[in-house]
Symmetry: C2
Subunit: 326 residues, 2 copies
C-alpha cells in the first residue's frame, strides 16, 4: 500500500473509528455534523479514495467468512451464541458477528452492517440503565430484540430475560427448607441492575421465612472478592449458608471455607449463579439460566418484529436450581 | 402454514437435511444424483414451491442478524471466535456463523452459504485424519484456512496450528528441571491426532532426560477419567508428577490426589493443557495456546488466498507454560 491513504489512516487523522469513517461514506445521515466534517477534512487532506465498492464489484466478493460454531459448554454467552445460531438457522436466518469496544461503537457498527451487508435485525446483550443502543435503534425504527430487560428505561421493545430474583429466591428457599437461618448474601455493589435483582430474590426469601438478620457483603466480582467477603462474614457470627450473585464469588467463598477447615456442603452450604463449567467441575450448586430457551425466544421475537406481526410481549424465563455437593 | 409443504417437510420426506434440499434448489451440482432425485421426488409429491428468493426480493431482506461478540475468557474456541472476529474486521471481513452436526453436514452448509449469502471463504476448526471437508473445498477450488494441521493428509492447504508436542515437552522439561523422575502422562486413547501429539512431547522430554520408566494411562476425557487414571497410577509406584493432555483430565488427577491426602503442588505436581478459566480458578498449571496469534494468522492466510498471493506457508505456533500452584 506504500503511502496511499487508507480507511485506517483517515480514521487516525480524524481521531474516529474506522466504522465512523465508513459511516460517513455510506450512511452520512447517521453521523453528527461535527464528526462528518472532521472526517471529510481528513479524507480531503489525505486524498483518500474509497474503493471498496468498486473492488467488490470487480471481484464479486462479499468479504464474509463462514465459520461453523460447535456446541461448547462454555459460559452463558457462549451457550447463547450457539443456541442462537441453531435457532436462527431453523428459520433461514444467519448470525453475523461484530466487535465493538463500547455501546457507542456498537451503534456505529449497526449503521455499518446495515449499509455494507444489509443486516436485517440485531440481537443485543447486556442491556443496562440508560442504554443508548436501544434508543438509537428505536429512533430509526430498526428491528431488534434484547437478551436483557430494558432496566428502568421507558422504551418499549421486545426483550427476553431470565428472572434472576426468582433464581436466588429458589436458592434461599431451598436453604431455609433445609434448616438454615443465617443465610448470607455475597453480591456486587448496588447499582448493578442484575446484581440488585439477584439480591432482591434472596431478601424476599428471608422475609418470607420471617428471618430478620441479614448478613451481606458487597464486593467486586471475582474469586478474590468472594473470598474476602466470606472472610469478613465468617469473622462475625458465622453464616451457615451463602447465596452468591455469581459462581466466581461462590468459588471464593468455598476457598475461604476450606482455608478455615470448614467443609462446603457439610458444615456450610454455598450456592452460586450461572452454572458455569467450573461449577460443574467443582461440584458447586448454582442457579442455571435456560439459555436454549432464551435463544429460541429471541429468534421468535425477531421473526414477529420482521413480519410486523402484533408486537410480541416480553418474556421472563425462570431459571433452575442445580444442586450439587456444596 | 397449515398443510402447505415447507423446506422442512420436504427434507423429512426425503430423509435429508434442510440444507441439502436448499442445495438441490440452489446449487444442484453440489449434490449427488441419487440425493437430487430423491429430493426432487419429495418436492413433486408434496407440491413444494420454493419462495424464499421471491420473498427476499419482495422484502429486500438479507435474513442476516447482527450480534456483537464481547471478549470472554471462555475456552479455546470461544477465545478464538472473539479474536477471529476482531482480526477479520481490521481487514473489512465479517464472520458469519453456522451450525452443523457433522463434517458432511458442514460441507452442505458451505454450499448453502456460498449460494445464499455469497460467502467468500471458510475457517475450519477441528481438522482430523481423513477430513472430508478440506477435500470438498479443495476439489472446488474454494478459499479456506484451517485452525489445525492436515493430519496425515496429502492435501496441501493453508493452515495454522499450535505445537502441542512442544507444550507437553515444556511441561516435562520443567518437571525434570525441578527434580522429578517419575513423571506420568494421562492422555486419551491412541488415534486422536492431538492426543498423540501431546503424548509425543512428554515422551521426548523423558527421553532427553534419560528417564526410562514411563508410567502412562489412557482414558477418555473428563474429570472422572482423569481421576480413575490417577488412581490406577497411584496404586503402583506412585508418580511424583503428572502431565495431562487436557485440563479436565488434570482436574481429575488433582481430585484423586486430594482424596488420598496428597497436596497438589507440594507433594505431587500436576500440569494440564489448554489453560481453561477453571484452571485459573483452581490454580492449575497448564499449557496455554496463543489464540489471538492463531486468529490473526488465520486472517492473514485467508487474505493471501483471496488475493491469490503466493501460497502462504503453514504456521505452527508455540504454546506457553502457565505455572500456577499445582
Amino acid at each position: 500500500m506504500g503511502g496511499r491513504a487508507t480507511l485506517n489512516s483517515v480514521a487516525a487523522a480524524a481521531n474516529v473509528s474506522r466504522q465512523t469513517v465508513s459511516n460517513v461514506l455510506n450512511s452520512p445521515e447517521l453521523v453528527s455534523q461535527d464528526t462528518r466534517e472532521r472526517v471529510q477534512a481528513a479524507i480531503d487532506q489525505l486524498g483518500y479514495r474509497p474503493h471498496t465498492a468498486a473492488r467488490q464489484l470487480r471481484t464479486a466478493r462479499s468479504q464474509i467468512i463462514g465459520l461453523r460454531l460447535k456446541p461448547a459448554r462454555g459460559g452463558v454467552l457462549d451457550q447463547f451464541l450457539h443456541s442462537l445460531t441453531a435457532a436462527a438457522e431453523r428459520h433461514d436466518h444467519r448470525i453475523m458477528l461484530f466487535a465493538a469496544n463500547d455501546d457507542e461503537e456498537e451503534t456505529h457498527a449497526y449503521a455499518d452492517l446495515i449499509a455494507s451487508v444489509g443486516v436485517d435485525a440485531f440481537v443485543l446483550t447486556g442491556t443496562h440503565h440508560g442504554d443508548l443502543r436501544t434508543r438509537w435503534l428505536l429512533d430509526r425504527g430498526l428491528p431488534f430484540v434484547t437478551f436483557g430487560r430494558p432496566w428502568g428505561a421507558e422504551d418499549e421493545h421486545p426483550w427476553v430475560d431470565v428472572d434472576g430474583a426468582t433464581g436466588t429466591r429458589m436458592a434461599t428457599d431451598h436453604l431455609v427448607h433445609h434448616g438454615h437461618r443465617r443465610i448470607a448474601f455475597v453480591g456486587w455493589p448496588g447499582g448493578s441492575e442484575i446484581g440488585d435483582d439477584r439480591r432482591a430474590g434472596w431478601a424476599a426469601g428471608l422475609a418470607a421465612a420471617g428471618i430478620d438478620a441479614r448478613p451481606q457483603v458487597s464486593v467486586f466480582d471475582g474469586v478474590a472478592g468472594g473470598r474476602a467477603a466470606a472472610a469478613e462474614l465468617l469473622d462475625g457470627p458465622a453464616p451457615t449458608a451463602f447465596v452468591c450473585a455469581s459462581d466466581s464469588l461462590a468459588f471464593g467463598v468455598v476457598a475461604e471455607l476450606r482455608e478455615r477447615g470448614l467443609r462446603p456442603g457439610a458444615d456450610t452450604s454455598v450456592i452460586g449463579f450461572d452454572d458455569t463449567p467450573t461449577a460443574e467441575v467443582l461440584g458447586l450448586s448454582s442457579v442455571a439460566q435456560p439459555i436454549t430457551e432464551v435463544a429460541a425466544e429471541c429468534v421468535r421475537h425477531l421473526r414477529a418484529v420482521l413480519s410486523q406481526e402484533p408486537k410480541p410481549t416480553a418474556v421472563l424465563l425462570t431459571p433452575r436450581l442445580m444442586l450439587r455437593s456444596t
